[in-house]
Each structure stands twice: as C-alpha cells, then as structure tokens.
Symmetry: C2
Subunit: 78 residues, 2 copies
C-alpha cells in the first residue's frame, strides 16, 4: 500500500485556483483510476493526497496529474 | 515549490529493510539531483520526503525512486 501527499505551491492564490480548476476538470473526467486521489486547493497550494495499491499504478497516476498541472501552469503563465 | 511525502508499506519490517537498503545504495550514488529527497525507513514503511523546484524535476526523481523500489521489491519477492 502506498500513501502520500504532494503539495505544489504557486506564486499566488489566483494562479493556484486557475491551475486547480483546470486539473479538476481532468480529475473528474478520468473514467478509471488504479489509485485513489484526493485533489484539493488550499490558498496558494494545490494538494494531492493519494492511495495506490501498487507502485506502477501510482507512477501512472502521478505522472498524469503532474503533467496536467504543468500544462495548466504553462498556460496561466503565458 | 513542490513538497511531498510518499509512504510505501511492505508486508513486513524485513522486506521494507531490504528494499530500503537496495534503494539507499542508488540514492547515495546518484551524483546529481534536481530535487532534494530524504529517504528513510520506519518499521514496515519506506518513506520519501521531497522538495523540488519544478514539476519535471520532481517527475524524474519520483519515477526513478519508484522504479528502484519496484525492482528491489520484485527481487525480494522471488
């Protein structure tokens, strides 16, 4: 069993909110997940809390979320 | 700034210790890292605490550690 938390800090609350909302859309539309992910916003931080049964499932999930966050943040920064 | 913790629970303390020691070897020999990683053992859990400046750096680091852990665990399970 793998449990974890990742907190990503943004320059300000507004940026965090925009990134959070973009990724929330992906988070809600993914039909099937091998890991459970709790995705939340707290001031200027986007917080991911997860539980995964195995390592490969977690790697896949984290890669997706971190990639979505990166894409959203790159767009905000434009 | 990205901060996080990932805890991986193994079936017993001995397995956790063997996996921890295998990965510790990799952890110590990696010459250059774009993220800071604190890697520790607590009973049947291997704990990774990390700080990364950016998302891509973190993804690379987590993928390496999760892969090393998987390899070590697969060997222990044989």
């Amino acid at each position: 069993m793998i449990r974890g938390t990742i907190e990503i800090e943004f320059p300000n609350n507004e940026t965090a909110r925009v990134v959070y909302e973009s990724v929330l859309f992906e988070h809600k539309t993914v039909p099937y997940r091998r890991s459970r992910m709790n995705f939340s916003l707290k001031e200027n931080k986007v917080i991911m809390e997860f539980i995964a049964k195995d390592n490969s499932a977690l790697r896949g999930t984290l890669n997706s979320y971190l990639r979505w966050i990166k894409v959203a943040f790159d767009v905000v920064e434009l």
